[in-house]
């Protein structure tokens, strides 16, 4: 399966491309899933792990596992995106376990430079406060925030990824956001 070869650049190449080199439907589906989810998966992993290098590793691992297991995907059990986030979550938790045994993670400092004006200064202050507040959250709470605000999943998708009910996911998320709001009360 070599997409770089199979992907044609013109009609003549398309017509002349050998059938064996043409990407399969499964490959095309995975390709679409990858392009629509790459940054979201990374954002979720980085938000949970607070380590860009580890997030990159987890993202790559998740897509590789998903690629190898794509034939196991069952659409009746949920969306492809939720299935992919489930794989990424397992990879991230494995990384979290490994890192937890080895060393404490360090958060990436929030880059507030380049902001000017009152509103932007307030936003900048809020971001710093939020970053600090995120540091105070538990990994579970941070995971909820990452899935919702960094990866952009709906409550139903979050519930599917975490294996809980949608209402339970909504309740947990509400509590976490309230916790963040309280932490940033002065800046809001």
């Amino acid at each position: 399966m070599n997409r770089s070869v199979a992907r044609s650049k013109g009609m003549s190449e398309t017509l002349l491309a050998p059938a064996a080199e043409a990407p399969s439907e499964a490959d095309l589906t995975f390709d679409r899933l990858y392009r629509s989810s790459r940054d979201d998966i990374y954002a979720y992993a980085a938000g949970l792990l607070r380590d860009p290098a580890a997030a990159e590793e987890v993202t790559a691992t998740a897509f590789e596992r998903a690629y190898r297991k794509q034939s196991r995907f069952d659409a009746r059990r949920g969306s492809a995106r939720a299935w992919l986030f489930g794989i990424a979550r397992n990879a991230a938790l494995d990384e979290l376990r490994r890192r937890g045994r080895d060393a404490k993670l360090t958060a990436e400092p929030v880059d507030a430079s380049g902001l000017a004006g009152d509103d932007e200064a307030a936003q900048s202050e809020l971001r710093v406060l939020l970053a600090d507040a995120l540091e105070e959250l538990t990994a579970g709470e941070r995971e909820l925030v990452s899935l919702k605000y960094f990866a952009g999943l709906s409550n139903a998708e979050i519930a599917s990824v975490l294996g809980i009910s949608e209402s339970n996911a909504g309740t947990k998320l509400h509590r976490t956001v309230n916790k963040l709001r309280e932490a940033c009360n002065g800046a809001l």
């Binding site: 399966m1 070599n2 997409r3 770089s4 490959d27 995975f30 390709d31 990858y34 790459r38 940054d39 990374y42 954002a43 980085a46 938000g47 860009p52 997030a55 990159e56 993202t59 790559a60 897509f63 590789e64 690629y67 190898r68 297991k69 794509q70 034939s71 196991r72 069952d74 397992n90 938790l93 494995d94 979290l96 376990r97 937890g100 990436e108 929030v110 936003q123 809020l126 971001r127 939020l130 970053a131 995120l134 538990t138 990994a139 579970g140 995971e143 925030v145 605000y149 960094f150 956001v177 963040l180 709001r181 940033c184 809001l188």
Partner: protein, 385 residues
């Protein structure tokens, strides 16, 4: 309203904190995805590792089909092997029979230890030598016939000293079609004739219970060839051979015969020296009795020698169930059902044995897999706590 505004601000601020991947990492991952995650090192991976990867990538349904197909194929192959092995045992049996034929005769019975018997043979020779010397010293014309007999004993002792007396016997059962019994019997007679053997008794039955039985005497040196000839006539159902060492009784009889000869020689000497009629008559009566005794001993000795020279063979031709399954030799629907049932029973046996071996292993693996899954879920949950 204010709370809604706060919420909006928080949402915006949180989304603004969304981490984004480095462009270099994104490009690298794009490339890896485009290559299907095939790394350079993967080209040198072992076929086993590649196969394991493909195995892991299979969906549960495909995995089930693949496992079931493999199991069915394995059972089919094992069934065919067992069935072929069961239905064609002849080559093995023939080889075994050939090996048995090539083996030297097995001494199954000794009535006397060999060194002791050899000592007695040496003593017999010594006595024979002494008697011959005494005979040369005597000048009586009456002794001439007796000395001839004694020479025979002497020859016997030399014969005994040259080789051991081994009695051999065999039982062989042939399996034939009912229509072949007559022809097989004729071949038996031919084989006996070729071996210069003797048919002591023969019985041949025709019809539904067709069969034949032969009691044969075959010259011992030709027994191997004769048995091979009998075995070639038809399928051999069973074959047994037995040997017995009869050296000791032969030697003992030779000794007694030699003693009898010596006694006769003594009586002849007394007869020559007898002075009265009454004395001569008494000696002649004793001489007659002793000669009868010597004749009886010689007859028994001849019988023993015959047992060693000729082997008794009991040969039967049977028409058993396996040979008469199909009366006309053709293969019909009943045979097909029988064969199918047989094959199915073999397949069932193979399956049961395979299950007996694989079920505990599969259960152990399943248990290990479940335990690992549970442990992993808990460990991941702990990592979040």
């Amino acid at each position: 309203m204010e709370r809604s505004s706060d919420h909006g601000n928080l949402d915006t601020a949180l989304r603004a904190l969304r981490p984004t991947p480095r462009p270099a990492f994104a490009a690298e991952l794009d490339e890896r995805v485009a290559r299907g995650f095939k790394s350079d090192s993967q080209a040198s991976r072992s076929p086993l590792a590649t196969l394991a990867d493909r195995f892991r990538g299979l969906s549960p349904q495909r995995l089930l089909f693949a496992t079931g197909g493999t199991a069915l194929a394995a059972i089919a192959v094992a069934t065919v092997l067992v069935a072929v092995n069961e239905s064609n045992p002849a080559p093995i049996a023939l080889e075994e029979r050939y090996a048995q034929q090539q083996r030297p005769p097995r001494i199954t019975q000794f009535s006397e230890p060999i060194p002791k018997a050899l000592d007695r043979l040496a003593e017999l020779d010594r006595l024979a030598g002494n008697a011959a010397a005494g005979q040369a010293e005597g000048a009586s014309g009456v002794q001439s016939s007796e000395s001839l007999s004694f020479s025979a004993v002497n020859r016997n002792s030399g014969y005994l000293r040259a080789k051991r007396e081994i009695e051999r016997s065999a039982e062989i059962t042939l399996l034939a079609e009912p229509g072949d019994v007559g022809a097989d019997s004729a071949e038996v007679f031919d084989a006996v004739h070729d071996a210069n053997g003797i048919v002591l008794r023969s019985t041949t039955t025709a019809g539904a219970d067709a069969g034949a039985h032969f009691e044969l005497l075959i010259p011992t040196p030709k027994l191997g060839d004769a048995l091979a000839a009998f075995s070639a006539i038809d399928e051999v159902r069973s074959r047994h051979e037995a040997t017995a060492d009869i050296t000791a009784p032969t030697v003992a009889l030779g000794e007694r015969l030699q003693d009898s000869r010596a006694k006769i020689d003594g009586l002849l000497a007394q007869l020559a020296a007898a002075e009265t009629q009454t004395e001569s008559e008494a000696i002649e009566i004793a001489l007659r009795d002793e000669r009868l005794h010597a004749a009886a001993l010689r007859a028994r000795l001849d019988k023993l020698r015959q047992r060693a020279d000729f082997s008794r063979v009991s040969l039967s031709i049977e028409t058993g169930a396996s040979a008469t399954d199909s009366n006309d030799g053709s293969w019909g629907i009943g045979d097909a059902f029988d064969d199918a049932g047989h094959i199915l029973s073999i397949a069932a046996g193979v399956t049961v044995i395979a299950l007996a071996v694989l079920a505990p292993i599969a259960l152990t693996l399943l248990l290990a897999w479940l335990i690992r899954g549970t442990w992993l879920r808990r460990a991941r949950a702990r990592a979040l706590a």
